[in-house]
């Protein structure tokens, strides 16, 4: 029987493969972040930092800060609306006898399969037709369109029969329908609601196509970055890009800490 090669050697191909995959995914991000600390005007090697002046430039750019505020506003508001609507739709379909439930469920989740470009065009045509001016509201509506199916799917998947029985118990003990929802259904579904809210926030936060097409004067951060990129690369774009990335990571971390850690207990 041949001696097995040492452990390290056996795992070497897998390790190289993993290093390549992670490198491929994260190297561009690492480069982006690194050159956001560039000392000179061009974000290409050699690196001559570190310097925080580009971050200072970003945070003193009032247009950039307006876009940042808009982004946060749109992300939070559209996610909240998506979660509430998605939850109510899931509750109705999981708990009530709804006529044509299959069809409704199909229509609710269909936007997940449609490209953002098509959705954006559809929204643009609709907003024009009804005479709705492009604004943060239209961007928010667009983000609800893409995030509601996600929220619905997540919440619906967590509404099992066992929970239906718990809701029956609450009704049996005298709870009115709104009390069942607020005191039993929502608290039990809290992790799912939280997860869908934070996922919606991250999707809305860096969504570009819809925000670009249905906005005019008030824009979100990705749209502002895009218009900045048109005048060429400079470390300021790197800095704002790094910032966007940082917020996304932070959101995912919060989600992980609150929702998934909790579930393990």
């Amino acid at each position: 029987m041949a001696a097995r090669p040492p452990r390290l050697l056996r795992h070497l191909p897998a390790m190289i493969y993993a290093a390549l995959v992670y490198g491929f995914i994260f190297l561009p991000v690492a480069v982006l972040v690194l050159f956001s600390f560039q000392g000179s005007r061009i974000p290409i090697p050699p690196f001559n930092g570190p310097s925080l002046k580009w971050y200072a430039a970003v945070f003193s750019d009032s247009r950039m800060m307006d876009a940042l505020t808009n982004s946060i506003l749109v992300a939070l508001a559209s996610s909240l609306v998506s979660v509430v609507l998605g939850f109510l739709a899931a509750y109705a379909l999981a708990r009530q006898r709804v006529p044509m439930a299959g069809l409704i469920q199909g229509f609710l989740t269909a936007p997940l399969t449609v490209s953002y470009l098509i959705i954006a065009m559809g929204l643009l045509i609709t907003f024009n037709a009804v005479g709705m001016p492009k604004s943060l509201l239209t961007i928010g509506i667009g983000h609800v369109v893409i995030n509601l199916p996600l929220c619905f799917a997540i919440v619906y998947s967590q509404m099992g029969d066992h929970q239906a029985n718990i809701e029956r118990a609450a009704r049996d003990l005298g709870a009115a329908e709104w009390q069942v929802l607020l005191l039993v259904t929502v608290p039990i579904l809290w992790p799912a609601l939280f997860a869908s809210f934070f996922l919606s926030v991250t999707f809305s936060w860096d969504e570009f196509i819809i925000a670009f097409m249905v906005s005019r004067f008030e824009v979100t951060l990705p749209v502002e970055i895009w218009s900045m990129l048109r005048s060429g690369l400079n470390p300021k774009t790197n800095a704002v890009g790094s910032f966007v990335f940082l917020i996304s990571i932070a959101t995912v971390l919060v989600l992980d800490l609150i929702v998934f850690r909790r579930r393990k207990t």
């Binding site: 029985n165 029956r168 118990a169 049996d172 003990l173 005298g174 709870a175 009115a176 039993v184």
Partner: protein, 369 residues
């Protein structure tokens, strides 16, 4: 058997029994299937009633109609004289102990037990007191600050009971509450349920498919099959004098001997069977096809006692030891079905052996249905 005018108290005295629950020709249809077929039943105040039947017998449907989770297709439901047929569960004086407990996982034990009181708007200090009393009743006062997932199955069961009883319902409904527990714990909980019911005096309606459980806890057993009531009465009466063949077969083991009525007079019936002629109590028409039911423990083997008559010599097919007794199946040449016979603990018998069987006609039950 007729479903008209039955009371769990046994005798019906119109207007005298204080009925906690009255069902008036309650019918439930699910699409094509008839789950309940015009059930009429009165449940006496303060009694422990067990709805017993196999799955699909309609017992759970009946419980759900009592709790308000289902509406009957036809008929009326009265609780303490008030028509609640179309009243929502929240507005009914009933509470339910669910099979899977259905405790609120996000609340503490005290929060669970106090939920119903909070819904009734009971003020906090009083609520705390009543929750404490309810938890003491089930012996779990020390768990009030814990979360549901920290409890064992038996403890969850007790909390579910405390949660349902603390609101002082007119009727407590129990939906196979002991089904998920192991045998030992189940027996212990049966005793406890019975004791708690006696203490609080609330009317309990308990659903189970376990006849031993039914006999252990019930004041009155309602045997159900295919959406109808087969038999209703005290456990002893149903076991010893079942009214239908189904009730005889479902409540414990029974041997059935087919026969035809030869004579009938003065509350006694003579039945001709392949095993001979037997005179038993009951009423039937001459020429009617009937069955005689005899419990395995009433079949006497080897030697006859009292008024027992010989059935013949049977050949033992199988034999098994059940702790308190041996049970064997033995085939008589004249009988179609092998007989189930119970032998004393220390009397084992091998398959293939011959066994003389005797039976006292007084132990036989005439079944016409």
């Amino acid at each position: 058997m007729s479903t008209g005018g039955m009371t769990t108290g046994g005798m019906t005295k119109e207007g005298m029994s204080a009925a906690a629950v009255e069902l008036d020709r309650v019918t439930k249809r699910f699409d094509e299937t008839l789950a309940l077929d015009a059930i009429t039943l009165a449940i006496e105040e303060g009694s422990f009633v067990v709805l017993l039947g196999p799955s699909g017998s309609g017992k759970t449907t009946l419980l759900n109609i009592l709790g308000g989770f289902l509406e009957p297709t036809n008929g009326r439901v009265l609780i303490k004289g008030a028509d609640v047929t179309n009243v929502a569960p929240a507005k009914r004086p009933t509470t339910t102990v669910f099979q899977d407990y259905a405790l609120f996982p996000h609340m503490t034990i005290a929060g669970n037990v106090g939920f119903g009181l909070a819904m009734q708007g009971v003020a906090k200090p009083e609520r705390r007191l009543r929750v404490e009393t309810a938890l003491e009743m089930v012996g779990l006062a020390h768990t009030s600050a814990r979360k549901v997932h920290q409890l064992s199955g038996g403890q969850k069961q007790r909390i579910a009971l405390a949660r349902a009883l603390v609101v002082e319902p007119a009727v407590l409904l129990l939906d196979e509450p002991l089904g998920a527990l192991d045998l030992k714990l189940r027996c212990q909980m049966q005793e406890e349920l019975k004791a708690i019911q006696k203490r609080v005096g609330t009317t309990f309606v308990h659903v189970t498919h376990d006849q031993d459980e039914a006999m252990a806890i019930a004041d009155t057993i309602v045997v159900m099959n295919e959406g109808r009531i087969e038999d209703l009465g005290a456990p002893e009466r149903i076991y010893l004098r079942p009214r239908t063949r189904f009730a005889a077969g479902f409540m414990g083991d029974s041997n059935f001997i087919a026969g035809r009525v030869a004579e009938a007079a003065g509350g006694r019936v003579t039945v001709d069977t392949a095993l001979g002629r037997f005179a038993v109590e009951g009423a039937a028409e001459v020429g009617q096809a009937v069955a005689l039911s005899i419990r395995p423990e009433h079949v006497q083997a080897v030697e006859a006692r009292g008024a027992a008559r010989p059935l013949g010599i049977a050949r033992v097919l199988e034999s098994g030891f059940f702790g308190t007794h041996h049970q064997c199946t033995a085939k008589l040449d004249e009988a179609e079905q092998p007989f189930k016979v119970r032998l004393p603990q220390k009397e084992s018998i091998a398959p293939g052996a011959d066994l003389a069987l005797f039976v006292d006609p007084a132990d036989m039950v005439l079944l016409t249905g």
